[in-house]
């Protein structure tokens, strides 16, 4: 049976009739871990917003603005329900996952960390969830402790827990690796960490997880969870920071400006009491309404067996790659997920990506903003293939054809 996506028709980028003068072969987009393409349903909401609904939310008394304020706040509630957060007042809109992490670093931990503390993370983090903590630790002379991963790509829980002590301020960890696609068993990790030191805060980078699997932050037990809209079919411009109630009151604003203050005098400023104090300046309402449409889209897809389809497609991807004798997976796991990292024996990843690019097969090559992981695995780069709802068997077949061609051309 051929795997065909019932959602592909929603993404007009795959419709060749839109490129009558193009000499390129059909697009095979396999780089959704970088950013997801945007379905027509979200594009339509965006267009309607730009034409008829654009205003500055949380500002005006007129219907255009107040209606938009309602939509933003309804989206906040929608996001809370989507990730099973207890309430909308624990959802902060940011410009993306990176700025969400910055808010946590500077707004929560910067005034709590001291030289005696340590921060625990893993070697498999994206730079966005590695560099800010490295810089924070260095700013006060604290220690950054880095847990290794096992051959399977999962963080080594035994070694990770050994890094936790009474001076551990926080653990920061990704839910799904952006390089290997391996999921960390977070519920188990968080339970173990908190049983060693209940005051350790847990920050989760969910940028790659959120688009593929249902999320329940209440069950997870983390203190902070971040993700971005553009890896959820919403396009660029919005990120989400979930904060547990136990941390939100102790967090300070990082960006100052309009919309986040209660009262300003010549000598001092008082912040708003709710989460709006973390959202200085004009909100990117266009991106937020797109996020609402994207969540609606993905929920509808999930109610129509999207996860089963993605599981079958991920299995097909792994099976085809495994059958190539010259494919070397970065980690040894049999668990197929929509993201997979590998190299072709003796061929640099950029050469593979360039040959695939000539066939309009879009994959990612390089270190994927994860240099510590590549150093740990003793690789200077890798190839990453990542799937989304619009992919189907023909994309994987085209990619495999390209890999075989690359091997024929490049093998020394």
């Amino acid at each position: 049976m051929t795997l065909s996506s019932p959602w592909r028709k929603d993404f007009v980028m795959f419709d060749d009739s839109h490129y009558p003068s193009s000499s390129l072969p059909p697009l095979h987009y396999l780089d959704s871990a970088a950013t997801c393409l945007i379905p027509e349903q979200v594009v339509a909401v965006n267009q309607r917003y730009l034409q008829f609904e654009h205003a500055n939310s949380h500002r005006g008394f007129y219907p255009l603005s107040s209606d938009l304020t309602d939509r933003v706040e309804n989206t906040r509630q929608q996001v809370a329900s989507f990730i099973n957060a207890p309430c909308a007042q624990q959802i902060i809109f940011t410009s993306g996952a990176t700025s969400a992490i910055h808010q946590i670093v500077q707004g929560y931990f910067a005034d709590k960390i001291a030289a005696k503390h340590n921060i625990v993370t893993t070697v498999a983090e994206h730079h966005a969830n590695f560099v800010p903590w490295q810089q924070l630790a260095q700013s006060v002379g604290a220690e950054l402790r880095i847990a290794p991963v096992k051959a399977s790509g999962e963080v080594d829980i035994e070694l990770l827990t050994e890094l936790i002590d009474e001076n551990t301020l926080l653990l920061t960890i990704s839910h799904l690796s952006n390089v290997t696609g391996v999921e960390n068993p977070l519920e188990q990790i968080i339970n173990q960490i908190k049983s060693i030191n209940s005051s350790v805060k847990v920050v989760v980078d969910g940028a790659q997880y959120i688009g593929h699997y249902p999320l329940d932050v209440s069950t997870l037990g983390c203190d902070f969870y971040v993700f971005s809209g553009h890896k959820l079919y919403a396009g660029f411009g919005v990120g989400v920071l979930f904060c547990h109630q136990r941390v939100i009151e102790a967090m300070s604003p990082v960006v100052f400006g309009g919309g986040m203050v209660e009262r300003v005098t010549n000598n001092q400023s008082l912040w708003q009491t709710g989460i709006r104090r973390f959202e200085a300046g004009s909100l990117n309402a266009q991106a937020i309404v797109a996020l609402a449409a994207a969540i609606e889209y993905i929920q509808f897809a999930r109610s129509n067996d999207a996860q089963l389809y993605m599981s079958e497609l991920s299995n097909y991807l792994r099976q085809r790659l495994s059958a190539i004798g010259f494919c070397q997976f970065l980690v040894a796991t049999d668990k197929a997920t929509p993201i997979v990292g590998f190299n072709l024996k003796g061929i640099h990843s950029h050469d593979v990506a360039s040959i695939l690019a000539e066939h309009n097969v879009a994959i990612r090559a390089g270190h994927h903003c994860a240099q510590p992981l590549h150093s740990y695995l003793n690789k200077n780069s890798s190839i990453r293939v990542s799937l989304a709802l619009y992919n189907e068997q023909q994309d994987i077949d085209a990619m495999i054809d390209g890999l075989e061609k690359a091997h024929t051309i490049m093998a020394v």
Binding site: H348, S354, G366, H367, I409
Partner: protein, 138 residues
């Protein structure tokens, strides 16, 4: 089999590179790194009276970088440091101004259509430039 970027002449350099891991007694050496893709290269030169008498490169890099390094080793061997710097300047300005290369450098012409890969081709030459300045300073 070849592609627009990977013409046969470039592939020949990649598969049988000149100067790769040649054993020389270096007067100077430099490391080059392309943060975009992770290309790493070390260029070594031996010199006598301001003339390059030996050149070698090593490291883990893509085919474009490796072929460009091979061409570089052929081109600058026996040149004076001034002539070598002129060659480097020519390569840099040709990429900047999109002026096609002639003769021995022509395998690099395919790179013009792939701006993101130009840094791969430039890396060996820029590393040699560092190497020459180090040699000059010492």
């Amino acid at each position: 089999m070849q592609t627009t970027l990977y013409q046969q002449a470039l592939l020949s350099h990649h598969q049988n590179p000149t100067g790769f891991q040649h054993n020389i007694k270096p007067s100077a050496e430099s490391d080059g790194y392309n943060p975009a893709c992770g290309d790493e290269i070390t260029v070594k030169i031996s010199t006598e009276k301001n003339t390059i008498t030996g050149i070698s490169f090593e490291g883990e890099s893509c085919a474009i970088c490796r072929a460009s390094a091979s061409i570089m080793c052929q081109q600058v061997s026996s040149l004076s440091d001034v002539q070598a710097k002129e060659s480097i300047a020519l390569i840099e300005s040709s990429f900047a101004q999109k002026v096609p290369f002639a003769e021995a450098l022509s395998p690099l012409n395919g790179v013009f259509d792939f701006p993101v890969r130009q840094q791969c081709a430039l890396l060996p030459w820029q590393t040699l430039k560092q190497c020459l300045s180090q040699f000059k300073n010492s």
